[in-house]
């Protein structure tokens, strides 16, 4: 569905209430563990300079994406309206 890039120029941070905290922290954790893995690789391949490399944290190559499926959006409701009407007619006993 619709997604906002947290690291992009979109004003995602202006609507924190719309984000799922669990998903947000999961993303944060994922990106951190990604860096740790990168550090581990660097420490294995390099020796002396590897430690300095670990201090320089690089931005994740992919933006952190948060799905905003929680809120029911008016445009979607409008688009589904006729479809919903057909569904009601097809299943008269249930509605």
């Amino acid at each position: 569905m619709k997604a906002l890039e947290l690291t992009g120029s979109t004003p995602a941070a202006t609507s924190p209430a719309m984000m799922s905290p669990v998903r947000y922290f999961a993303q944060q954790l994922a990106s951190r563990s990604g860096r740790r893995a990168a550090c581990a690789v660097m420490m294995m391949t390099g020796l002396g300079s590897a430690l300095a490399g670990c201090v320089n944290v690089t931005a994740p190559d992919k933006p952190i994406v948060i799905e905003l499926n929680i809120n029911i959006r008016q445009e979607v409701i409008y688009r589904l309206s006729q479809d919903a009407e057909n569904t009601i007619k097809e299943n008269e006993g249930v509605f």
């Binding site: 499926n69 008016q74 409701i77 589904l80 569904t87 008269e92 006993g93 509605f95």
Partner: protein
């Protein structure tokens, strides 16, 4: 469908057939199970704003079980129909907009503030996002 078709010993069966015939005629009109239709018009169950049925007040176990069963069926339909279009909740919500509009006077529906209302002659109170 006339009783005269049946001979005397099966008079009772004839009456039953008549009753069944009447029942299926009602089904064709409303499409609803008679128990469900009765519970609706009695205000025991109402249309919620989320696309599911709600039990209003303390109702019998039979009514509660019926609502549970219908809501399970509704969820299955919403799940199937929403696939590739929207979330299940969105599809259910869009259906609720229609269902609340289609309530008959005397039937119950849930207003946007969550309270139960009885449908009057005018338009029902619906969510602002309803088309």
């Amino acid at each position: 469908m006339s009783k005269t078709v049946f001979s005397r010993p099966v008079g009772l069966i004839g009456a039953m057939a008549l009753a069944l015939g009447g029942g299926s005629m009602a089904l064709a009109q409303e499409g609803r199970d008679p128990a469900y239709a009765a519970a609706r018009s009695a205000g025991q169950v109402g249309e919620q704003k989320d696309g599911y049925l709600g039990v209003i007040g303390g109702q019998s176990a039979a009514v509660q079980a019926m609502v549970r069963d219908l809501n399970n069926k509704r969820r299955a339909i919403y799940t199937e129909k929403a696939a590739g279009k929207s979330t299940i909740e969105e599809y259910a919500f869009a259906t609720a907009c229609r269902l609340i509009s289609q309530t008959q006077p005397g039937e119950k529906y849930q207003a946007p503030d969550g309270t139960w209302k009885t449908r009057g002659a005018g338009a029902p109170e619906r969510d602002a996002r309803c088309p």
